[in-house]
């Protein structure tokens, strides 16, 4: 199934692994920060609601 990349196996594989890895890390970072900020805001808004 994997195509024969001949003598460029390392270069092509490296390009795909690094690029997809970077996009994956970026997406994970956005998701993680989004979740953290959403939770913190909910806590603050709940606290405000309780305090009137």
């Amino acid at each position: 199934m994997i195509p024969d990349l001949g003598r460029y196996t390392l270069e092509v594989s490296l390009a795909y692994v690094v690029s997809l890895g970077l996009i994956g890390v970026l997406a994970f970072f956005y998701w993680l920060r989004g979740r953290s900020v959403k939770r913190q805001l909910a806590e603050i808004e709940t606290g405000r609601g309780k305090n009137g």
Binding site: P3, Y8, E11, I23, F29, R33, G34, E45
Partner: protein, 243 residues
């Protein structure tokens, strides 16, 4: 019909993106995966470049997005400077790490392709150099946002930096046309007749370009939502301290 400026209202933006974001995210994954699988597994080797031609499916969309993200940041910054819509400033802020990543992918894949094809990882070619400067501008833009506590001052100063950096975004796009002495070839895709790329490569490449565009849009919407929430959180904390 709703005016475009209605989406400058954070509440309206959050409401619309609440249902739009999952759709864009799924489309981004599906289209990008389709394009990359098509390009990697089902395209033939080039008669000169061999299998390294498969790097084009990452390099061209990433390089295209690196420039387009900066142009989007420029438009958002101008909207902020002229109309003072907070969502536009926060969208520009959310876009910067995506642009930085796309520029880095463009530089890395270019170097990995250049080593076997040009015999060097790097050359001080006009397009490569202007791309490196664009990368540094992205870093500076992100650092400037992080360095300033007041969000409005941060938005003002980063908008000005964005205007200055736009020169390099334009240079990155047209460097290969302005100067002919560089190693980097001209545009891979062109609307001019006689374009050199075969459809066997062009079709998956267009799919990847669309996919990368959708990845950007999904991350931009997610990032802007986070920035809106972070700004509200900051405002609430400041208000409580004042009380």
């Amino acid at each position: 019909m709703a005016s475009f400026w209605e989406y400058a209202n954070p509440l309206k933006f959050m409401r619309v993106t609440d249902w739009l974001l999952p759709i864009v995210a799924v489309a981004a994954v599906v289209v990008t995966a389709t394009g990359l699988i098509w390009g990697f597994f089902f395209t033939p080797d080039d008669f000169r470049q061999g299998a390294t031609v498969k790097i084009v499916f990452l390099h061209v969309p990433a390089a295209m997005m690196a420039i387009n993200v900066w142009v989007m940041m420029l438009v958002a910054s101008l909207i902020w400077l002229i109309r003072r819509h907070h969502v536009s400033a926060l969208a520009a802020k959310a876009a910067a790490p995506i642009g930085l990543t796309m520029t880095l992918i463009g530089l890395i894949t270019g170097a990995v392709w250049g080593q076997p094809m040009w015999g060097t990882w790097w050359a001080w070619d006009p397009r490569l150099t202007s791309f490196l400067i664009l990368f540094l501008f992205y870093l500076g833009y992100i650092a400037l946002w992080a360095a300033i506590d007041d969000p409005d001052t941060g938005a003002d100063l980063t908008a000005v930096l964005c205007l200055v950096g736009s020169v390099f975004a334009v240079l990155s796009r047209y460097a290969a046309l302005f100067w002919n002495q560089g190693l980097h070839q001209g545009a891979s895709l062109s609307v001019q007749p006689g374009t050199r790329m075969d459809w066997a490569y062009k079709a998956p490449l267009y799919t990847c370009m669309l996919g990368f565009g959708l990845v950007f849009l999904a991350l931009l919407l997610a990032g802007t939502r986070t920035e809106i929430r972070a700004r509200r959180m900051k405002a609430l904390v400041a208000r409580e301290r004042m009380a």
